[in-house]
């Protein structure tokens, strides 16, 4: 599985009880009510454990974490050393 598939699988298993329903790679976790603030903590813990990716305070923003696509891009960016979006703009 590539990173995007792994993230998608994590979200489906942990937040949707195995039923992907209408989840797309671009579905907003927050707008669609898939993940709340505790869920974001869960996602961050997963990224830390599974990919050894630490998420800084400034990186805790929707641009990095609010869809399967965005999380996958964030992880890949962090792993390759490409600067990620942060709240400082």
């Amino acid at each position: 599985m590539n990173v995007k598939d792994e993230i998608r699988s994590f979200v489906v298993e942990n937040f949707l009880f195995g039923d992907a329903g209408e989840l797309t790679d671009d579905s907003s976790f927050i707008r669609e009510g898939i993940v709340d603030s505790t869920g974001i903590l869960q996602l961050v813990a997963y990224l830390q454990e599974h990919y050894q990716v630490a998420v800084t305070d400034e990186e805790l923003i929707p641009e990095n974490l609010d869809s399967v696509q965005r999380v996958a891009a964030f992880v890949e960016g962090k792993r390759s050393g490409v600067p990620c979006a942060d709240s400082e703009g």
Binding site: I30, D36, S37, V44, P62
Partner: protein, 329 residues
């Protein structure tokens, strides 16, 4: 969205006498037709909401039908008991003091809480104090994240972002306080054949700022429709002592003093009230921002936070859910 002409803090101005009369009539009606108990128990915290709830209950039912419960514990602010006592005295109602430290000790609260804090601050121990705060929703477009503030015996504070498990452990342990208090409210209500009056204001009720089966539990909630600013207006009308009316709202839950706007709401209550009113009445972010002295983008973030909290705390309001409807007359 439409701009609401005339949007200003004045939209929350109410006629206190008229509103107090309306609430009291409704309390009597609910007690007579649905609750069918002889009076109410109100947990007094020394804060504005419980003081106003008690005062309205007295006005509605008579002081002999209202019992105040004061339930301090080891971490309660020192002034809590004095303030709640002052309110009870002013209202002329009987009080019962239940120090819940012993019960909290028995269920292992203090140990569980300290162990959870030590997951992120291993040196945490005797003489230390702590609280949880959130990141400022209105200042940056970030997800809410939770921070633990600790203070050592030398009064030196430090802050660390909370990972998932310590956060859950700390909140789960802390919720013992609200649930134990509610258990005692119902104990006294049952032995007196009374009901329990809950004390949430509209901000707390709407935004899910309560513990399910803890402070969220009650038979009636007389001020749940009132914005916090309106609760203060009623407090003045009802003669709640000035010390309580001028006190900054706190959660009185953690060993370090914690403002409600540090832990849950993204702005002080005066501003949150207006943002919630604006959200409820289709006032634009631009009009709201102009009144509050904020940037429209900040107000849009607060609006988004209001919507998110409504969605994510919806389950707190739900009764136990059934597989299929069970009907009865």
């Amino acid at each position: 969205m439409t701009t609401t002409k005339g949007f200003s803090p004045e939209v929350l101005r109410l006629d206190p006498q008229c509103e107090a009369d309306r609430i009291c009539a409704r309390i009597r009606e609910l007690m007579r037709n649905q609750v069918k108990r002889g009076g109410v128990v109100v947990a007094l915290s020394g804060g504005i909401d419980s003081s106003v709830t008690a005062a309205l209950s007295v006005r509605a039912l008579g002081r002999e039908r209202v019992i105040a419960l004061e339930m301090p514990e080891r971490h309660s602010a020192r002034e809590t008991l004095a303030l709640s006592g002052k309110v009870a005295g002013a209202l002329g109602i009987a009080t019962i003091v239940e120090d819940i430290s012993g019960i909290l000790q028995s269920v292992g609260f203090y140990e569980k809480y300290d162990n959870a804090v030590r997951m992120v601050v291993p040196e945490y121990g005797d003489g230390w104090a702590s609280k949880i705060v959130i990141s400022g929703v209105a200042s940056q477009p970030r997800f809410t994240s939770f921070y633990l503030v600790t203070q050592n015996a030398q009064q030196v504070q430090s802050t660390v972002r909370l990972p998932l498990q310590p956060y859950l452990e700390i909140v789960a342990a802390t919720n013992f306080k609200q649930r134990i208090r509610k258990m005692l409210e119902y104990y006294h209500a049952d032995r007196l054949n009374y009901a329990v009056a809950g004390t949430p204001n509209r901000l707390e009720y709407d935004q899910g700022f309560f513990v399910k089966l803890g402070d969220g539990a009650a038979d009636i909630k007389p001020i749940a429709h009132l914005y916090k600013s309106q609760v203060y207006q009623l407090a003045e009308f009802l003669g709640i002592p000035e010390e309580i009316r001028s006190r900054k709202p706190t959660t009185d839950t953690y060993s370090l003093a914690q403002g409600q706007d540090e832990f849950y709401f993204s702005l002080p209550y005066q501003m949150m009230d207006l943002c919630l009113y604006a959200r409820n009445n289709n006032v634009t972010a631009e009009s709201t921002a102009a009144v509050l002295g904020l940037e429209p983008q900040q107000v849009r973030m607060v609006f988004r936070d209001i919507d998110t909290k409504r969605k994510t705390t919806r389950y707190l309001h739900l009764p136990p859910l059934l597989v299929e409807e069970v009907e009865w007359e």
